[in-house]
């Protein structure tokens, strides 16, 4: 039976078991929206700005094992998605973005709402396609889902001209797809894995350093099993939080620019680093020359060969899917693996570093942001999905909310995109309808996608917004205080809206919390009495609280600035 290109798009989504798309209609996608209207298998969430559609689809992926989908129109619809696509790309999030394009016979003629979608998105996608023939449409969408979700995942854009969506064609969705140019490695090389096991056995000061790759390949269980067998300390990157239970005694905290004293020291002085799905980026190892001063052996497991030996020379590279490789290592270890007795001394050293309690902070008459995070953790029993924006609040959440499970910490790590928190909450709730979702944000970030309060009302997303309001672009202010002689250039936010009234104007519940003793009751009220409401909690916090420890840009990992009283 012949069906239209628009119907083919929807049938493809159904075949991929897509239960919802986030989008915004417009001229070039009207046929597709019409096809969407005629069915109820694929739900549509109407956002208020295309950027939010892509962020929400991104969070749908991050918080589940499924591929998020966004649908937008041509021209401005597409350009509005670029920040969201780049955000997903930097964190290797599988996502398919369907974009309308002007009719193919208009392409290149500066038609109304035309832009070079493939050209504009090329540097921030895993791959993109322009569909030129309706006969290629189904197979292209199949390829898009395949590419997005395999190998090192990433966003894929499919640009579909309007005339293609009107043309008629037989629908035949391929079950599998073969591409001669795309065959990502899955299984790690056994010889390399054996080498790695040998080195782990000889390690005297080992550390397991893991990143987003563990989350993406759903390898948290395998990682925990391996770490327990080895009895090695484990540190996570910002993207890796939840890949290893934060309440486990072998966990030594996040590392990097705002990592714990023990994690950064252990990373620096380790003689063997087992790096798993992490990429030694600048926020993690600080100055690479300083990092290279210590002699050590590095084992690196990653699905992407280009991540290996990019910034740090690796001794044993293992290219493969993290989950498969970890299983292989555990299997090899079962036959007579012995940890070096010196590891016990290493633990003593780590415990001494832990004794510095680098996350300790002073209470004041103001609400301390760290305190809000601790209370949020208590009130939600550590079970919430925490979405975050970017800045000081993000670091406080990462440091003080102990993530025991993967896919619960949803933030923009690589690109550092302010404004993601609220749309991320929407994506999480579409993938996990019964979840408790807290959006940790600040008065700067929340205003970057605040219009989505309207979407949240329309679909009843009961997100709890934790606005850590210090009236400052806090992280900018912190850098200006420390490195620019307190010249606070443009970091003070004046004329803030009354967030309580704003929330109410959108039909939500608003609360303003100004005293430390009110923090916990407000949180409890929000998560119980207002369980089904979106609650905007405006916490007026200490305006000058800073994030510590801190490794300043260009400094070595051990050259940390600690809070003054430590």
């Amino acid at each position: 039976m012949m069906i239209s290109g628009a119907e083919i798009v929807i049938r493809c989504l159904q075949e991929e078991k897509v239960d919802c798309v986030f989008g915004y209609p417009g001229g070039s996608v009207l046929h597709i929206y019409d096809a969407l209207f005629k069915q109820d298998q694929v739900k549509h969430i109407l956002v208020r700005h295309e950027q939010a559609a892509v962020h929400a689809a991104d969070a749908y992926s991050r918080s589940s094992q499924r591929v998020g989908v966004a649908l937008v129109t041509s021209g401005p619809g597409v350009t509005n998605t670029v920040t969201g696509i780049a955000t997903a790309y930097m964190d290797s999030i599988p996502m398919v973005v369907l974009t309308g394009q002007v009719p193919s016979f208009y392409i290149g003629q500066d038609a109304f709402q035309e832009c070079d979608t493939v050209g504009i998105t090329r540097p921030c996608v895993k791959h993109n396609f322009l569909v030129k023939d309706v006969k290629d449409l189904a197979v292209t969408i199949k390829k898009a889902f395949h590419i997005a979700s395999t190998g090192r995942p990433g966003p894929v854009v499919v640009d579909i001209p309007k005339d293609i969506t009107a043309q008629m064609c037989e629908f035949d969705y391929p079950k599998t797809i073969q591409m001669r140019s795309y065959n990502p490695v899955v299984k790690g090389h056994l010889g390399q894995i054996k080498k790695a096991v040998q080195i782990l056995q000889e390690a005297k000061r080992p550390i397991i350093y893991t990143g987003g790759g563990v989350i993406l390949s759903d390898a948290a269980e395998q990682l925990t099993k391996l770490a327990h067998k080895l009895n090695f300390p484990v540190t996570n990157t910002l993207m890796g939080l939840g890949g290893y239970p934060a309440t486990d005694k072998q966990f030594i905290g996040m590392l990097g620019m705002h990592g714990t004293f023990e994690a950064n020291n252990a990373m620096h002085y380790a003689d063997v680093i087992l790096a798993i799905g992490a990429r030694f980026d600048d926020r993690v190892i600080g100055n690479p020359e300083h990092f290279a001063e210590e002699k050590r052996r590095v084992i690196h497991i990653d699905i992407d060969p280009s991540s290996i030996s990019k910034r740090v020379k690796v001794d044993v590279p293992i290219v493969g899917n993290v989950q498969d490789v970890l299983e292989e290592i555990v299997k090899l270890m079962d036959s007579g693996f012995k940890t070096d007795p010196d590891v016990a001394n290493w633990w003593k050293q780590i415990d001494a570093w832990r004794g510095r309690e680098s996350l300790r902070y002073k209470q004041s008459e103001h609400i301390m942001p760290q305190y809000v995070m601790e209370k949020l953790y208590e009130v939600t029993g550590g079970n919430a999905f925490v979405t975050s924006d970017v800045g000081q609040h993000q670091m406080f959440a990462a440091q003080y909310y102990k993530f025991d499970k993967p896919r619960r910490w949803i933030n923009s790590g690589g690109l550092g995109t302010m404004g993601v928190g609220l749309p991320y909450g929407m994506g999480v709730l579409m993938a996990n309808p019964d979840a408790q979702v807290a959006c940790v944000t600040g008065e700067g970030s929340i205003q970057m996608c605040i219009q989505e309060l309207s979407t949240c009302k329309q679909y009843g997303f009961p997100i709890k917004i934790i606005n850590l309001n210090n009236g400052m672009l806090g992280m900018v202010r912190q850098w200006q205080e420390m490195f620019y002689s307190k010249r606070y250039s443009q970091s003070y936010v004046t004329s803030l809206p009354d967030f309580v009234k704003l929330a109410e104007a959108y039909g939500h519940v608003g609360m303003k919390i100004e005293k430390p003793e009110d923090v916990e009751p407000a949180l409890r009220k929000a998560f119980t009495e207002h369980k089904d409401d979106l609650v905007f909690m405006d916490f007026i916090i200490d305006p000058v609280a800073n994030v510590f420890p801190m490794v300043a840009a260009g400094k070595g990992l051990t050259e940390m600035i600690l809070a003054e009283d430590l």
Partner: protein, 164 residues
């Protein structure tokens, strides 16, 4: 900083060239020359890029190229025995006594004169890039009107074959 010739087999799709060129500019790699044309299998294009960089940079270049979804195969030709050629067309002023001199120079470098007017020659010259450079250096600069070079293309010697 070593000179490397990277050969790429890539799906002959629209935009394939810009994916490769974009990768080089986005990551700050050098392109000294780039040539591309379809192979005997029209669904594939072969691209030759002349670049330079340290061993670490070259490792990243080949890894990043391999990561492009359209790229089927990548090889660094300069890692082993290979032959390389470049084609140049050069238009020179050829009047009076220079006319005979130009003919002689073209013969010495085994170039061919492929277009003749009363006052100009177009000379076609093929060889390694260094030979083309020497030819330009050997001519009186004032007589060179225009040059166009294809950039390097190369192929492995003997059994070294780049094929799907």
């Amino acid at each position: 900083m070593q000179r490397h010739i990277i050969s790429i087999l890539i799906e002959n799709e629209s935009g394939a060239l810009s994916r490769v060129a974009g990768l080089f500019s986005a990551r700050g790699y050098n392109i000294e020359s780039l040539t591309v044309a379809p192979t005997e299998d029209p669904s594939l294009s072969r691209m030759t890029i002349l670049t330079s960089g340290s061993d670490e940079v070259l490792e990243q270049i080949t890894k990043q190229l391999n990561k492009l979804v359209d790229v089927v195969k990548v090889v660094d030709l300069s890692e082993a025995a290979h032959v390389e050629r470049e084609l140049m067309l050069i238009k020179v002023r050829a009047t009076g006594k220079d006319r005979e001199e130009m003919k002689r120079m073209a013969d010495i470098f085994r170039g061919r004169i492929i277009d003749v007017t009363e006052s100009t020659f177009v000379i076609e010259l093929t060889g390694a890039s260094a030979k083309l450079d020497s030819f330009i250096a050997a001519l009186d600069a004032g007589l060179i009107l225009e040059t166009v070079r294809t950039g390097v293309c190369g192929i492995g010697r003997g059994d070294r074959i780049l094929k799907v």
